[in-house]
Amino acid sequence: MAKMQAILSQFTEEQMSRYESFRRSGFQKANMRRILASIIGSQKVSMPMTIVISGIAKMFVGELIETGRMIMAERKEMGPIRPCHIREAFRRLKLEGKIPKQSVPRLFR
């Protein structure tokens, strides 16, 4: 707790703005609920379930973005993250086994 305070007090304005976005951003519960309901096939998706899945999804986005930035650093590229970086990040995360895969092949895609 105290460590956090110490770090935060040293933040530049840009770092603070980014940290604020990091803390506050999230998937709209209503939208997430709608998607979950259509996947599960039932209308009732509990609040805890929505919260947990939104949390997992947010962390997954974080992994993709951070890996994307790593890839950009390797390639010495600057600027906003491009789809190719995300695709490469996704590929690497897959190799690490962080992506849930369907064990049964989907026949009718």
């Binding site: 999230g26 939208n31 805890p48 997992i56 997954f60 906003p80 993250i81 962080k98």
Partner: protein, 129 residues
């Protein structure tokens, strides 16, 4: 004089560019666009991320959530109903995610208790006067 029955502009043909991963899911594009932009900035992207990157991320996230839920359902059907615990089981090996999930769940419980206590106090105040 012929009344050329000009048909009203035909509705555009069904978009064939929709991701085919889930036939029943006709979701709008850009459902999470705003949320994702803030999230991407928070995690390290530009303050104004590229639209194509946001779109790609949305597709990936929806596919990720879909696969996650299907896996959870595979586990759950052995027991019966789909429960929140099934998702905790799925991320059990991913320590940061597991910790975050338990943190979120206990925060939610705390808020629920706090709200309930607030309501009880309100009642007391109402009847007391």
């Amino acid at each position: 004089m012929h009344n050329s029955s000009s048909a009203a502009a035909n509705p555009p043909p069904p978009s064939s560019s929709k991701p085919s991963s889930d036939a029943s899911l006709k979701r709008k594009r850009g459902m999470f666009q705003k949320d994702l932009q803030h999230m991407m900035y928070g995690f390290g992207d530009d303050p104004n991320p590229l639209p194509e990157t946001v779109a790609l991320l949305e597709d990936i996230v929806v596919e990720y959530v879909t696969d996650l839920v299907h896996k959870a359902q595979d586990i759950a059907t052995k027991r019966g109903k789909l429960l929140t615990e099934d998702f905790l089981y799925l991320v059990r090996k991913d320590t940061p995610k597991l910790h975050r999930c338990t943190e979120l769940l206990s925060m939610n419980e705390e808020l629920k208790q706090a709200r309930k206590a607030f309501e009880v106090d309100e009642e007391k105040l109402a009847t007391g006067d």
